[in-house]
Symmetry: none
Subunit: 183 residues, 2 copies
DNA sequence: ACTAAACCGTGAAGCGGTAGACGGGTCAAG
DNA sequence: CTTGACCCGTCTACCGCTTCACGGTTTAGT
């Protein structure tokens, strides 16, 4: 049985955060002491571990509550939606970055971009002799062998979530036309 | 003389935002109509243009207020601090991204998607018609255009640090020898 | 037994905006 | 002159906590 500040310290959270989770009905202690102190059990601890890792992934309180209430129901879709949202956020931040760079008239990052973007990537593949059809094949292979990695890779090029889905769908159909599907 | 909703529409902002800017003393209309309506002048419009672009760069209300009060004073340093902060935010989001990717991978069972590795990557490129010489060219382009990203990418395929350096050194020399090539 | 420190509970306000409700003003057509 | 469609100003709540303030409880040390 842990008291609130002990539990907070153990998880690197603040007491206030746990008070807030209780208030929101996300994690209520399973017992109270005579004086009314919150007493957290081992089970509460497990639940908090789950909550903490979902929060680290940026899920909202509501989303976490929904997942914990019915994990089998829509956990995957919630996580995937968050993954897409993160891509958008990163893209927005990169836009801010370049806007600021322009304001500061600092061209430092321009000559050697530290992160890859779509245009540079395509230019590289073309330099290596790939044409449009080869790239299609490549996307289709990527989608077939590692859809998840394909998704993450496209996002890492700064491509927006919608366009990513479009590309993946095109990749699937390109491949479906070529061969029979393996689960 | 614009009224509040006209101005909002012209700038793609919401009425609430302009109300908030007034409340915060960031942009107060230079006049009021008899009925108490806010009336914005051309000067106000210019000021709002500045505010909007700073906001697009992610500056806080306080920071914008400070810059507009004394532009010569600390504008550059504020912008540079924001630029650094954006880097942090992107890093944090990327951490969330990989956490989520791991969660989704674990859930989906290990049947289909595993993270990308060197063999799968090479197989994909071969399927798209790339031969050894094309891959060499591609590495060379990668190294020339974005050395840092090249490094990060090789590591992401699970290639060891030493081998990464070997590949990069080969890429450099390949480029030196192929300088006149047309893509 | 007493005191002080460190803990606990509850309640409220604040951050940077955004979004909505509310009641009242304004302007057209009828 | 009235109806309706908008517009306006003001006020409030929301996100995910954090920080304050107040007063009661537990613990350690004397």
């Amino acid at each position: 049985m842990y008291r609130i500040s002990q539990l907070a310290k153990r998880f690197g959270l603040s007491r206030s955060t746990l008070l807030y989770y209780d208030q929101e009905g996300l994690l209520s202690p399973s017992e109270r002491s005579e004086a009314g102190y919150r007493l957290y059990s081992e089970g509460d601890l497990d639940r908090l571990a789950a909550i903490a890792s979902f929060r680290k992934a940026g899920l909202s309180i509501d989303e976490i509550r929904a997942i914990l209430a019915a994990p089998e129901k829509g956990e995957r879709s919630v996580l995937q939606r968050r993954l897409a949202a993160i891509g958008e956020e990163i893209r927005a931040l990169k836009a801010q970055q370049s806007l600021l760079a322009r304001m500061l008239r600092v061209q430092s990052g321009e000559s050697l971009p530290e992160s890859m973007d779509k245009e540079t990537w395509v230019a590289m593949l073309r330099a290596a002799g790939m044409d449009d059809r080869a790239m299609e094949t490549w996307h289709a292979e990527f989608e077939r062998r590692a859809p998840q990695a394909h998704h993450a890779f496209l996002l890492s090029l700064g491509i927006g979530a919608e366009e990513v889905l479009t590309i993946r769908r095109l990749s699937e159909s390109a491949w479906a036309g070529a061969e029979g599907r393996v689960p």
